[in-house]
């Protein structure tokens, strides 16, 4: 299992109805199982309040998630050794925006980015791979998991945390 090298795992996600939130939590749980310290952060909606209010399920989930999570903080990516980026399959815009806001290339050097999306949606993941690489992060791709995406996300969380630990050990 792990040695004494501590790993900090930041889990950043955007979710409207809870599906991506579950995936993000599963990855966070995997990171915990691999003995990382974790922070969970939800990226704010880009949609306006009127659009959200018109969708009762979205609004209900948003109220709950606003209570359960805080928004990403500037210190988070500096603290993290690995950043999980969980995005809905239909839109990566919110998480792409977050990645674009990360500190300069040098500050992110040697850190891992671990994008994941429900259904392993290529259309959502590819922009994140590109954005993360442009930010100086090392991209750890996830694998398709049609049978049990939650268990796969937990395993992904463990695996990437161990990768981050190995990177820290080697540096």
């Amino acid at each position: 299992m792990s040695d004494s090298v501590p790993v900090n795992a930041l889990v950043v996600f955007y979710s409207r109805y809870g599906t991506t939130e579950k995936l993000a939590l599963a990855a966070g749980l995997g990171a915990l199982q691999a003995e990382a310290s974790i922070r969970l952060r939800r990226v704010a909606d880009r949609a306006d309040a009127g659009t959200i209010a018109a969708d009762a399920a979205w609004k209900t989930n948003l109220d709950r998630m606003n209570r359960d999570y805080v928004a990403p903080r500037p210190a988070d990516p500096l603290w993290a050794d690995v950043i999980f980026l969980a995005t809905p399959a239909e839109s990566a815009a919110e998480i792409e925006s977050y990645v674009a806001s990360l500190p300069s290339l040098g500050s992110m050097s040697g850190k891992l980015a671990a994008p994941l999306a429900p259904g392993h949606a290529d259309a959502a993941l590819k922009p994140l791979y590109a954005a993360a690489a442009l930010s100086g992060l090392i991209v750890a791709p996830s694998s398709p998991a049609p049978d049990d995406p939650i268990a796969a996300a937990t395993a992904f969380g463990r695996r990437v945390t161990e990768m981050a630990r190995a990177l820290k050990r080697a540096s």
């Binding site: 749980l29 199982q33 969970l40 209570r67």
Partner: protein, 236 residues
């Protein structure tokens, strides 16, 4: 030997929605002289404003007990457990290999006051688990009511924890006395939860704690105008 930890000496976190007093080092409060006592690692005295709480966060390898003094505490975790806890109920979560959970004041109008207690488990990486049960408050009046310990399926019910440690609660009226024999080589921590209690003649009030070592007997007596409530930890 008795060593007292007065309420006003504790660490304090003030976040607007949360006032937390830390008997031992916790979060940004760090004091190398107060890192815990035996397996008792955290004893936080928390007051949460209505509707507010701790968002989703992770734990591992810790036995986490919640003892509510006033109000309601809502809990939700990655094991799928979702419950509300009140006074005279016990919540015990064994974080083991990892749990993500949130805790909120379960009321939008009333504050919640509770102790959060962390006990270091005797093994790492255990499967996470959750227990909750209610008990009759009469069971802790004038008596030590076992809240948690290392035995499963006790009668009356108590929470199982993965450590050779026991937690009791008692409410003592003024002048009411109970005794607790401490087996040789074991230690105790007595925490004042409300009112006033004498521990072997030493008076403690709400928020005070006493570390007890090299003693064979604890005499616990309700003091002051209305007696008091205490938590007792029996520790290896």
């Amino acid at each position: 030997m008795l060593r007292v930890r007065r309420a006003e000496e504790r660490g304090r976190s003030e976040l607007g929605w949360l006032t937390s007093y830390h008997t031992f080092s916790f979060g940004s409060y760090s004091d190398p002289d107060h890192m815990g006592f035996r397996a008792l690692r955290v004893l936080n005295d928390d007051r949460i404003a209505p509707g507010k709480g701790f968002g989703a966060h992770g734990h591992r390898d810790m036995e986490i007990l919640s003892y509510v003094l006033e109000g309601r505490l809502a809990h939700k975790d990655s094991m799928g457990e979702e419950h509300v806890l009140g006074p005279n109920e016990v919540q015990a979560m064994s974080a083991g290999s990892g749990v993500i959970h949130s805790e909120f004041n379960g009321s939008d109008t009333e504050p919640t006051h509770f102790f959060q207690i962390w006990i270091v488990p005797d093994k790492r990486g255990l499967p996470p688990s959750y227990q909750q049960f209610a008990y009759d408050p009469a069971e802790k009046r004038g008596a030590l009511r076992l809240i948690a310990g290392p035995e499963r399926n006790t009668t009356p019910r108590s929470a199982f924890i993965n450590q050779d440690a026991r937690m009791y609660a008692a409410v003592l009226g003024t002048g009411e006395t109970i005794e607790y024999a401490i087996p040789k080589g074991r230690h105790a921590w007595v925490q004042g939860a409300a009112g006033e209690i004498e521990v072997n003649g030493l008076t403690i009030r709400e928020g005070d704690g006493v570390a007890v070592s090299d003693e064979s007997l604890l005499a616990l007596r309700g003091a002051g105008p209305g007696g008091g409530e205490l938590l007792l930890f029996d520790l290896a």
